[in-house]
């Protein structure tokens, strides 16, 4: 019996790997076609660097949210967290606090928001969908209260560098942050005991608990990290726009979750790949960028993005069903 299960798990792992590879192949094909059709604008430094810059905060949050989702939970409050962090950052800067201190406070605020979500889910036992929808409104509400609904200028050398700075005068800093976060989350999810525990918890929390995994602790830490990276996303967005406003991040939770699901992460947990998430984020961003370059109206862009999501997720399910049939 145990052998059969092991075969199933290994089979599923193969499917995951294949799905991620397929996504990257799709991405390469899309990129090539778009470069040709969208010439001379699409494949240019002037377009690609800002595109990567603009997707950096989405990617950073998506990477850590993948960990939360693989463990079987979800965090809808990331958009609210981004908005509140942006407001807090701008407000504290306007009060004359030094940039480095503001960054620390903003990240601590993100940790606090993550901790609050984690507590609600792991200690109080509230379903993570409900808990984080609730906190999403709370964070955004606090943002509106702090700023009176107005945008506040956020200009400071430290904050400016986070979203608009360059490493060695060549590589945009947000892209460096994106790569660092993806490398760390990849190592955690694929090469550490913690990552294996996350997959186990997502697949079967009860069995994980019985086998000695501290389920609550791992979920709590995931929420904590998710809160902090959302705050980092908020800092990048504040820097990119030079403004803190409560509307920042509005609707981003859906974009980010769509990218993660597109990358192969299952809503119920237990399945998902960090590289898949990266591919999901890149596919959605490249698609938006190309369609906008081609003067396509936003409604059609939304329709295309929605259709791609449904197509890819349907393809996953079909492939999984076929693989099960083969076993």
């Amino acid at each position: 019996m145990a052998d059969i299960k092991a075969v199933e798990v290994s089979q599923k792992k193969n499917i995951r790997l294949n799905n991620t590879a397929v996504l990257f192949i799709i991405l390469v094909v899309m990129f090539s076609v778009f470069s040709y059709v969208g010439r001379p604008f699409f494949f240019s430094k002037l377009n690609l660097i800002p595109m990567l810059n603009n997707l950096s905060f989405i990617g950073i949050v998506a990477a850590v949210l993948t960990m939360v989702m693989v463990s079987g939970e979800i965090d809808f409050s990331i958009g609210g967290n981004i908005g509140l962090t942006a407001c807090l950052t701008a407000l504290l800067l306007s009060r004359g606090l030094p940039g480095w201190l503001v960054v620390i406070i903003a990240l601590a605020g993100g940790l606090a928001m993550g901790a609050f979500n984690g507590m609600l889910v792991t200690v109080v036992g509230v379903n993570s969908i409900l808990a984080t929808i609730g906190t999403m409104f709370i964070w955004r509400g606090i943002g509106y209260t702090l700023t009176n609904g107005e945008s506040i200028l956020a200009m400071n050398p430290v904050i400016d560098y986070i979203g608009r700075g360059f490493v060695f005068k060549v590589i945009p800093f947000p892209i460096v942050l994106l790569v660092v976060v993806f490398v760390i989350t990849y190592v955690i999810m694929n090469l550490s005991k913690w990552g294996r525990s996350i997959y186990a918890i997502g697949a079967n929390p009860l069995a994980s608990y019985l086998s000695g995994i501290n389920v609550k602790k791992i979920k709590f830490i995931n929420f904590l990290l998710c809160g902090m990276t959302a705050a980092l996303g908020g800092l990048i967005l504040t820097s990119l726009s030079a403004v803190g406003m409560p509307q920042h991040g509005q609707g981003l939770e859906l974009v980010i979750i769509s990218a993660i699901i597109l990358g192969g992460t299952m809503l119920g947990g237990g399945r998902g790949q960090i590289l898949g998430t990266l591919a999901g984020v890149l596919i959605l961003s490249v698609l938006y960028n190309f369609l906008t370059i081609m003067n396509i109206y936003y409604f059609y862009i939304q329709m295309v993005q929605g259709s791609v999501l449904i197509l890819v997720v349907s393809a996953y399910e079909i492939r999984l069903a076929m693989a099960k049939r083969r076993i």
């Binding site: 603009n54 807090l88 605020g109 901790a115 403004v243 906008t292 109206y297």
Partner: protein
């Protein structure tokens, strides 16, 4: 041990969160006298700023007049004349040029009209439709920034920027300035860029004056129970003027001591009837005895939701509600014809292109344009609607 450490961490984080929010947002409890003094101080400061702004505006107007007299804007005015007549511009000045337009929120009647008029004028100017780039900012600063970057990559000869937050515009302005691409901003100020659109305070003040006429006909301010302003704070300070001018007209006429106690403000959203409906329902329960009400909102889509709420509550009486809206788009025209509103200040979005395209071409050619290009406004009522918009 681990558990207690975890709890300690949670406590620490929660305390730091509360401390942070307190530091940033909470105000000290002030004694009434202190509060009054502070208010007076703030008021004086605001008055000084307003005077300063007024002086600057007058200075700018004088400068514009001087430049106009010197013929600095002749090329722009020449093109505008053709645009106004709907005739092809001489020498097809837009041929071989590219123009980018980032729309504040495609899909709402006002923006559709603006975009259509830009396209029409671009054709009249001899521009290639494929060289007129478009992106929809979806009333979202994040998308607005993304679109600005994409437009920058397309390297247009000029950008018409219609983006909702003036402060975010500063980044857009910096990026395009560095690339040497001129910008014309629509309705929302953008540093260093000529402004085209409506003077939000002026149009709202006009609406207020029109409502006052109705109030006077009805028997004076004593009979008025409430002034309702359906606003959209998230739209920023400039958009707030679109309703605050209405209030100011009443204050100028009757004094703040009379107007403040009967004024109610609510967030009706950017143009979603549902949110406005909910806001209005809440207002109606706040003013249960109000019969005579003067009201305005930022646009007609918002007013649709409000009207539905008033009717649902059974409190609709066209003789007792004095409603002036902003924009006079297709929804507004219908509301006027149906007798649901007393009037609308028309922004003539279908004529925005007559200003924007000539100005863009003038800038592409290295000419100068006036720093402020205000669209002419009219109050459209049931009496004159057929004159402006024949059916």
């Amino acid at each position: 041990m681990k558990k207690s450490l975890l709890w300690l961490l949670i406590m620490l984080i929660t305390v730091s969160m509360i401390a942070t929010f307190s530091l940033a947002g909470c105000k000290k409890e002030a004694k009434p006298a202190e509060e009054a003094a502070k208010l007076e101080e703030e008021l004086a400061e605001k008055e000084a700023t307003a005077k300063e702004l007024q002086a600057k505006l007058e200075e700018a107007e004088a400068e514009i007049a001087a430049e106009e007299a010197a013929g600095a804007y002749d090329y722009y005015y020449m093109l505008k004349e053709y645009a106004g007549k709907g005739e092809p511009y001489p020498d097809a000045p837009a041929a071989d040029h590219t123009l980018a337009f980032t729309d504040i929120m495609g899909g709402i009647p006002f923006c559709i009209n603006v975009w259509n008029s830009v396209q029409d004028q671009w054709k009249l100017a001899g521009g290639d439709p494929d060289k007129l780039y478009y992106a929809d900012n979806q009333y979202d600063a994040t998308i607005g920034l993304k679109n600005a970057d994409i437009m920058l990559a397309k390297n247009p000869d000029a950008l018409i920027n219609f983006q909702f937050d003036s402060k975010v515009n500063s980044i857009i302005s910096t990026k395009f300035g560095a690339a040497g691409i001129p910008i014309i901003t629509v309705d929302v100020p953008c540093p260093g860029a000529p402004f085209m659109g409506c003077n939000n305070f002026k149009v709202s003040y006009m609406a207020g004056e029109r409502a006052i006429e109705e109030v006077e006909k009805m028997g004076g301010i004593d009979k008025l129970d409430a002034i309702v302003l359906i606003q959209f704070p998230a739209g920023g300070e400039v958009l707030m003027l679109r309703s605050e001018g209405f209030y100011q007209a009443f204050v100028d006429k009757y004094g703040a001591d009379v107007i403040d106690p009967i004024t109610v403000r609510a967030d009706g959203g950017a143009g979603e009837a549902e949110q406005a409906n909910k806001a209005m329902t809440d207002i109606l329960s706040k003013i249960p005895d109000a019969e005579y009400v003067a009201m305005t909102s930022i646009n007609e889509e918002t007013m649709s939701g409000c009207l539905a709420a008033i009717q649902t509550a059974g409190r609709w009486d066209p003789d007792k509600w004095f409603i002036i809206t902003m924009g006079c788009d297709d929804v507004g025209k219908q509301q006027i014809r149906d007798g649901l509103i007393d009037g609308a200040v028309a922004f003539f979005p279908e004529r925005y292109g007559e200003y924007l395209v000539p100005a863009s071409i003038a800038l592409m050619k290295g000419d100068v344009v006036p720093p402020f290009m205000y669209v002419e406004n009219e109050i459209i009522t049931k009496d004159n609607i057929d004159e402006w918009y024949p059916e």
